[in-house]
Every structure is written in C-alpha cells, then in structure tokens.
C-alpha cells in the first residue's frame, strides 16, 4: 500500500539520471580502486567535519541528508512527460562545505543502495566516489573559482558540472570494466546529463536564492575554507584523476581493441557495429574516426529514444497514483 506511494514518489525521481551503478556491472579491479578512493575521501571528510561541527554534526548532517533525499522528490515539468529534479551534491556543498557535503551524499547514496536497491552493495564504492566525492569536490572548486563574479552563476555552473562529472565517472568506470563501449556510452551519458544538469543548475540556484532571501545568515554557515583545506582537496583531485586515467593509459588503445587485436580481428577489430557499409571506401585515419562519431551519434539517439519511451511508460503507470 505505502510501497506504491513511496516507489511512485521516490524511485522515478531518481531513475532518469540512471547514475546508480548496480552490482554486476563493474569488474573487481575497478571496484577496488573506487573503494580505496572513497574510503580515503570519507576518512578525510570525517576528520574535517569533526573539527568543524563537533557534537552537533550527527543530528545536523543526518537531518540534512534526509533533506537531500526528500528534496530529490521535488520536480518540475520539462516537456513531453519528462521532468527535471534535484540530485543535490552542489546544493549541499554550497550550504555546508565540501566535507560535510561528502558525508551527506555518502549517506544518501548508501541508503539508496541498502534500502531501495538503487545501486549495488559492492558497487557502492564507485557510486560514492562519483556522486558523493567527485560531485561535491568539483562543485566546491567551481564555486570558489566563480563566486567572485556572481554567486548564483557560480552555484548554477557548479550544479551542472557536478552532474556531468558524476556521469563521466560512471561511464569511464563502466567502460574500464568492459561492460559498455566507451565510444557509445560516453557521448550518450554526457549528452543526457548535460541536459539533466541544466535542471539541477536551475533548481540549485533557485533554492539558494530562496534561502538568501529568507535566511541570509544560513548562507554564511559554510565554514570558510582555511588555506590548509586546499591541500587535501587538491591531492584528492589529482589522485582521482590519475585513478580514472591510469587504466586507460596502461591498456591503450582500449580494452576492447586490445582483445580484438589479440584475437586477430585486425582491421574489423571494432566489431560489427562499426562495419558501416560493406564497400566502405575511405582509407586511413578518417574512416575509424568517422565511424566512432557516427556510432556515438547513433548510440546517443538510440539511448535518447529508449530513455524517452521508458519515461513515457513510467509516467503513464504513475498517472493513477498522482491523483491525491
């Protein structure tokens, strides 16, 4: 009985982002690297917030984590039955600083995995890394960088980037695990999340404008970043970057091509998808590049269409539940 209401209200609000990696999609090495960095980041975040908030931290961050979770239910109509909604990493970062935001988002992602099966249990390390560590970090830098010009713009850009960066991380992790073809999924994920990010940016800026109008004192709540704060942030960022890129560099050109080469597929290494026309005549470098672009565009369109149909289907199924 309540399940209908809850899943009707919470689940679709989270689903269109398609960001929570389920179990079974990631390979063991990728999982281990993701867990290592997540644990490291959470460890640093725990130490920082402990120093800043003291005994108040448990109720404050716990209730605000519930706020982010519930805030993800608030949506707005875009077009054709799709809707935009909040993910919240950037909002939490602007309100409470990057470290508290990391803990809050970690709690949100963990509860989604533990109790809603939204994202896997051992994939949690990756989901935390992208949505609860990378997203607040990137938001924080962008806000630091841009807020001297215009703080609403800074918050909006930070919110947009937090979504795109998480999508980027998810795509790369899936590709490194050999679960998806990077050439298709990366452009598709980035295109979809660049759009979702616009909604995130508008809601985040709107929420901050509301808070600034009614309780400006709360926006000063965020502890000013001490100079010492930047070093671990920078270190973590470099580590993240290296972690994401190192497997790419080591197994260059890319896992799939390597397998194809090993198996001796030679020129048709990129598989049937890329065999565009039988008598394809363009020689040299132009052909594979073009093929990749075409594949990317086709993949984007396919996933767009599929997502749109899924959204329509879910919308229609939700219709009766919405008449309250």
């Amino acid at each position: 009985m309540y399940g209908g209401i809850l899943s009707g209200a919470l689940a679709p609000a989270l689903k269109p982002a398609a960001m929570h990696i389920p179990d079974g999609f990631l390979s063991l090495p990728v999982l281990i690297v993701c867990w290592a960095f997540s644990v490291l980041a959470i460890g640093v975040a725990l130490r920082r917030t402990n120093a800043q908030l003291g005994e108040r931290q448990a109720p404050l961050m716990g209730v605000l984590a519930a706020f982010i979770f519930a805030g993800q239910m608030i949506n707005f109509q875009v077009a054709g039955g799709t809707s935009g909604h909040l993910i919240g990493a950037a909002l939490a970062t602007v309100l409470l600083g990057p470290w508290a935001a990391m803990l809050i988002m970690t709690a949100v992602v963990a509860v989604q995995a533990l109790f809603f099966q939204d994202g896997g249990l051992i994939a949690l390390g990756a989901n935390i890394l992208f949505m609860a560590v990378a997203a607040p970090l990137v938001s924080y830098w962008i806000v630091q960088l841009l807020q001297r010009f215009n703080r609403w713009l800074a918050a909006g850009v930070a919110a947009w980037a937090s979504v795109v960066v998480a999508a980027l991380g998810v795509s790369v992790a899936l590709a490194l695990s050999g679960t998806v073809a990077l050439g298709i999924v990366l452009p598709a994920m980035l295109a979809v999340h660049a759009l979702i990010g616009i909604g995130e940016a508008l809601i985040t800026a709107g929420a901050l404008a509301f808070i600034a109008a009614s309780r400006p004192d709360l926006l000063a709540l965020r502890p000013a970043a001490a100079a010492a704060d930047r070093w671990p942030l920078a270190g973590l960022a470099i580590a993240l970057f290296v972690a994401l890129l190192s497997p790419l560099a080591s197994s260059a050109p890319d896992g799939l091509e390597r397998v194809a080469e090993d198996l001796g597929f030679g020129e048709r290494a990129l598989g049937p998808f890329y065999a565009i026309i039988p008598d394809y005549a363009f020689p040299g470098i132009a052909a594979p590049a073009l093929a990749t672009i075409v594949a990317g565009v086709v993949g984007t369109l396919l996933i767009f269409a599929a997502t749109w149909m899924l959204a329509r289907y879910m919308q229609r199924r939700r219709q009766p539940a919405e008449t309250h």
Partner: protein, 266 residues
C-alpha cells in the same frame, strides 16, 4: 508515508530472521562478490548461485514473487549494457539494417550482455533478502560492528529516521504547488521551463529551511536528554555459535561454487 513499506516481511519469523545482522551482511556481500567474479557465460555457475538464493529465500519464508519483481530495479541500467550486443567482436547472429548501416548482434555480445544482467539481478535479489529479513536498527548495528565509522552510521540512522518525515514535508509542498497551479483546458500555462525550475528551487529552499530548523530542535531535544556527542545504543544481539556456523556454511557453499567454476566443472 510510512516505514512499513520497507519492513513488510520483518514481522515474519524464521532461521534467517533470527541470524545476527553481521552474519547476514557479510554473507550478502560475499554473495554479490561471487556474482561479480563469475565469468560471463558460465550458466551452470549462475544457476548454482540462483539455486542458493532460492534455498535461502525459502528458509526465510519470504514470498518469492514480490522479491523477484522488485529485483528488476536495475533494469533501466540495462540500456547502457545493451551496447555490448553490438560492440563485442564475434560471430554475427542477427543483423539489423538501418539505412546504409548494419547493426549486427554477435554471439559474444549476447553472452556478455545476458551475463551482466544475471549478475546484477542475482545481486539485487540477495540484497533484497537482506533488507527483508533484517530490521533497520539491526542492520545499522551490524554496519557499526563491521567497522563503519560511527559518525557515518549515525548520519545514515538519522537520514533513515527523518526521511519519511521530510518526504511528507516535500509531499505537502508539492501538493500546495499543485493546488495553486490551475491549468485551464487548451490554454498553455505554467510559465517557462526556467521559471518552473525556479519555483521548484523555491520549494527545495523552503524544505531546507524547515529541515534545518528541525535539526536544531532535534539537537536541543537530544542535549536536554543528556547527549554529549556520543550515540549510545542498548547492546543487542551477539554473534553466537549458530551465526558463525551459518555464515561459515554459506561461505563454504559459495566457495565451492566459485572453485568449481574456476576448475571448469560448472
């Protein structure tokens, strides 16, 4: 909205329900890990893992039907993995012609795709079984006992405790917006997308202010009851011999399945 959605089967009683939370948590993680490690295309190994789940679910006396249906939550993610069908090099099975292009599905692609979907489905099913048989406080305690930082567990506990309160708050905000949003038939209403997004942002901001005020009240209520920065719980449940035997037995079965897979017997 009510917590009972997640706790539907917690009132049942079974061997599995009575097990210590740690044993169930570790067993679930081991099972998910085993699913991840099973190579693609080893159908016998997947069947053995599925059989293991069926046995545990039967022991837990949890109705299979609902779990199987809720186990499909990862399905939207299949969209991403679907690209495997076309990109894995292999013997083409079936070719789809779209204009000048041909999309062909290879045998290796089908094996990879079906394997990923099976892995994720089995993992979700076991995770569902964990939450269906373990109460929320027991799971939190298990998380703490296996070494999750206390503060993080405290935040997750508060999140879960107030999620339903704040979700109700959010529902009221949404209902208020709905009530004020007249849509005359045939007339375009509701402003631009940016305007609607700002309104939604206002709701979020409002929700934040209410949540923040609530967290202050909660903190004061805690302090007045003697809170000094440490969350105390009544010690509950101990890891007995039965728990150890159950966990060990489960791990042995898992190990046997994986071992036989590695040796090529499954």
């Amino acid at each position: 909205m009510h917590v009972s959605y997640l706790d539907q089967y917690l009132d049942l009683d079974s061997v599995v329900h009575r097990l210590d939370g740690r044993a169930k948590l570790l067993a679930t993680i081991a099972f998910v890990l085993a699913c991840t490690l099973t190579p693609a295309g080893r159908w016998a190994a997947f069947a053995a893992l599925a059989l293991l789940w069926v046995v545990i679910a039967a022991l837990a006396r949890v109705p299979h039907g609902l779990l199987l249906r809720r186990g499909l939550v990862a399905l939207p993610f299949a969209l991403a993995a679907i690209t495997l069908l076309f990109t894995r090099p292999g013997v083409p099975w079936w070719t789809l012609a779209i204009g000048p292009w041909r999309l062909s599905i290879s045998d290796a692609g089908v094996i990879a795709f079906v394997s990923v979907m099976l892995k994720s489905w089995l993992s979700v099913l076991m995770a569902l079984l964990l939450t269906a048989t373990t109460s929320y406080p027991a799971l939190m305690q298990a998380l703490r006992q296996v070494g999750t930082p206390t503060l993080l567990v405290a935040i997750i506990s508060f999140l879960y405790r107030y999620l339903f309160v704040l979700a109700d708050e959010a529902q009221r905000l949404l209902r208020a917006r709905e009530a004020r949003s007249a849509r005359p038939a045939g007339v375009r209403a509701g402003g631009s997308i940016a305007w609607r997004a700002r309104v939604a942002g206002g709701l979020v901001g409002n929700l934040f202010l209410r949540s923040y005020a609530r967290s202050e009240r909660i903190y004061q209520a805690m302090v007045s009851r003697g809170y000094r920065g440490e969350l105390r719980t009544l010690a509950r449940g101990r890891f007995g011999r039965g728990d150890a035997i159950a966990l060990l037995g489960f791990l042995l079965v898992l190990g046997a399945i994986e071992g036989m897979t590695v040796l090529g017997w499954l």
